[in-house]
């Protein structure tokens, strides 16, 4: 079963993906690593940020790895690289 989620790209990830948000179709049951892979396959330049982002699903941090996710249609996925300007 797949479902459509909303991916939000912040800071550097929006620049590298060249988009600020988009709806993508992903498997409802997936791991955080698979979800990240799915996003990177759409925007290969994001691969450089792998260890330098917060990945959040429904405004909750998930570590990119084996963590199991049960996604619902419309869920919000956020890619958040830190910014350092001031």
């Amino acid at each position: 079963m797949s479902c459509e989620v909303l991916v939000l790209y912040f800071a550097k990830s929006a620049e590298l993906a060249d988009v600020r948000s988009e709806r993508i179709c992903v498997a409802q049951q997936t791991t955080s690593q698979q979800l990240w892979q799915e996003i990177v396959s759409r925007h290969p330049r994001l691969a450089a940020l792998r260890d330098h982002v917060i990945l959040a699903v429904c405004q909750e941090y998930v570590s990119i790895g084996d963590q199991l996710l049960l996604l619902q249609p419309g869920d919000e996925v956020a890619i958040i690289p830190p910014i350092s300007g001031g």
Binding site: A11, H52, A78, I83, S84, G85, G86
Partner: protein, 546 residues
């Protein structure tokens, strides 16, 4: 009469020179001594000698330079444009009628005199060293003056007298007096915090003023920490301000940070963020951290009541080339303003005893969409190198090496090309004057081209060139063809690449070199070192700087 005065001046000058020469001959007091040599080798020494040189040259007294030039070899012919830029002096028709030394003097006068003409004897003291501060005394009760001053927040049940007294015995170190630090310091001073440490290594520049709201036009060239304290003192003289005009380094961070109750990270670079984090963990201080870029902001409280630290979330620093600074990326002034205000709120909540809501959350501000999002963060990482169960970091590190970037937000200078593959702005001016056939390619983003550009350049943004965008390549091919038709020669066609500072142009030359001989035909690509800012400094002072 004028001729007579001239002769008189000349005689006087010759007499002086003779006196000096005689002194040198007698070798009683060496004219160029070690102190002088040492001073000239410092940045300030260079500036002072450049100012003197410029002064002499302004009045055509360059000949007197001969007296102290030969021994030192460090006094270059002064480049007024460059010197003015370094000193943060923006030249206009009023400044050009006098030597730069006069502008420096005017600036000091502006700064030290207040509106009523009297000098302010209570100017904050600038620290260049970390010294031990006396303990902040806890007050038992509020004075009538304090009750009146803080009455509008005293009547808040959440704060009350107890909260206000807590504020007055708290000290906060603000790392960075820029876009975040200014509003943060302003609200903390207004609210009656006990002591504010203000740290910044930089001086006020014109391009800071749109967001760094404690500074002002007459503060250009003045240390930011001092400028901030000067403004704050007028807002609330009861607060104690300690100005640190220095870079936060591993050497001083622990000694400095342990003297404060709460640390606010308002810095503008990655190495400082890791340094402040580690120092806060090692000294057990809460870290109220915010950042802003373009139209986005982030806020988190690290290392507070068992919550994660910066390293728990970001164990590895991002590759330097993926980090954007304010100069390159831009920042809308009010965005760090909002984030700094949120920092002030959280600092006040922690200091007064209310407590913070952001220990395990990151607040994201999207200014474009007008939305705030709170993202719940992970718990403390048990494997964290600095705050985990078995930390490997017990002393502060070399954070510039760790991050592969410098502890400032100044643009990095890349070195991709050899000397032969680059030309100076002056050399390019000569090419233009001699009408040598060539193509000038400006690789800046369109938004920067809109600010200013050289005539007759074609625009191909670097990111499009990197992606080998077909439209752009065809455009380039067409222009090259036109150029070759004009010269009718089969030689490698000269292409000069320009950007703002001469970094992106080097990357573009590398790409063009790859394409040369293939789809674009033979071309000889070079970049203009220093870019348009060098053009403005060295060739055309009327060309804007940004």
């Amino acid at each position: 009469m004028f001729a007579a005065e001239d002769t008189k001046s000349q005689d006087l000058l010759i007499q002086n020179l003779e006196n000096i020469l005689n002194k040198i001959k007698q070798n009683k007091t060496p004219f160029v001594n070690e102190n002088f040599q040492h001073f000239l080798n410092t940045k300030n020494g260079y500036l002072v000698s450049s100012l003197v040189t410029e002064f002499l040259q302004f009045f055509d007294l360059g000949c007197t330079m001969a007296v102290f030039q030969p021994e030192t070899g460090t006094l270059h012919g002064s480049d007024r444009g460059n010197l003015a830029h370094v000193l943060g002096i923006v030249e206009n028709e009023n400044t050009r009628v006098g030597p730069l030394l006069l502008e420096v003097m005017k600036r000091c006068q502006n700064f030290s005199s207040r509106g009523d003409g009297s000098s302010d004897s209570s100017l904050p003291v600038l620290h260049n060293l970390v010294t031990e501060l006396p303990l902040l005394e806890a007050k038992i009760s509020l004075s009538n003056k304090a009750i009146l001053r803080y009455s509008r927040q005293l009547v808040l049940p959440e704060l009350g007298v107890k909260g206000q007294l807590n504020l007055s015995k708290s000290s906060v170190l603000i790392v960075g007096c820029g876009g975040l630090g200014c509003p943060l310091a302003q609200y903390l001073a207004a609210a009656g915090i006990g002591r504010l440490g203000l740290l910044d290594y930089d001086v006020v520049e014109m391009n800071n003023l749109h967001r760094q709201v404690l500074h002002g036009e007459n503060r250009q060239g003045i240390p930011k920490s001092l400028s901030a304290a000067t403004t704050l003192k007028q807002l609330n003289s009861e607060v104690e301000y300690i100005c640190y005009n220095m870079t936060l380094t591993s050497k001083i961070a622990l000694e400095l940070i342990q003297q404060y109750d709460i640390i606010a990270d308002c810095s503008d670079n990655v190495p400082t963020r890791y340094l402040v984090n580690d120092a806060c963990v090692l000294t057990g201080k809460p870290l109220v951290s915010a950042s802003a870029l373009r139209m986005e902001g982030q806020l988190t409280i690290y290392n507070y009541q068992g919550n994660p630290c910066y390293r728990c979330l970001f164990p590895v620093p991002p590759p330097a080339e993926t980090v954007t600074n304010c100069a390159d990326g831009g920042v809308l002034g009010v965005v760090p303003g909002i984030m700094g205000c949120l920092q002030a709120l959280e600092v006040q909540k922690i200091a007064s005893g209310i407590g913070t809501s952001f220990g395990q959350f990151i607040l994201m501000f999207d200014a474009l969409e007008g939305r705030f999002r709170n993202i719940r963060l992970r718990a403390k990482n048990q494997n964290c190198a600095v705050c985990g169960a078995n930390p490997t970091i017990g002393v502060l590190q070399d954070y510039e090496a760790f991050c592969g970037s410098s502890a400032s937000d100044k643009c990095r200078t890349v070195h991709l090309l050899s000397k032969e593959e680059r030309i100076s702005a002056q050399e390019y001016k000569k090419i233009l004057d001699e009408k040598v056939p060539h193509l000038l390619v400006d690789v800046r983003p369109p938004v920067e081209v809109d600010i200013c550009h050289l005539p007759d350049s074609i625009y191909i943004p670097l990111d499009k060139l990197e992606k080998k965008n077909l439209d752009c390549l065809n455009h380039l091919k067409r222009k090259l063809l036109e150029g070759r038709l004009k010269t009718g020669e089969e030689m490698s066609f000269p292409v000069y690449v320009i950007c703002k500072l001469g970094n992106d142009s080097q990357k573009a030359v590398k790409i063009l070199q790859d394409l040369s001989g293939k789809e674009l035909g033979a071309l000889l690509a070079k970049d203009i070192a220093g870019g348009l800012m060098a053009w403005s400094n060295k060739v055309d002072p009327t060309f804007p700087q940004y």
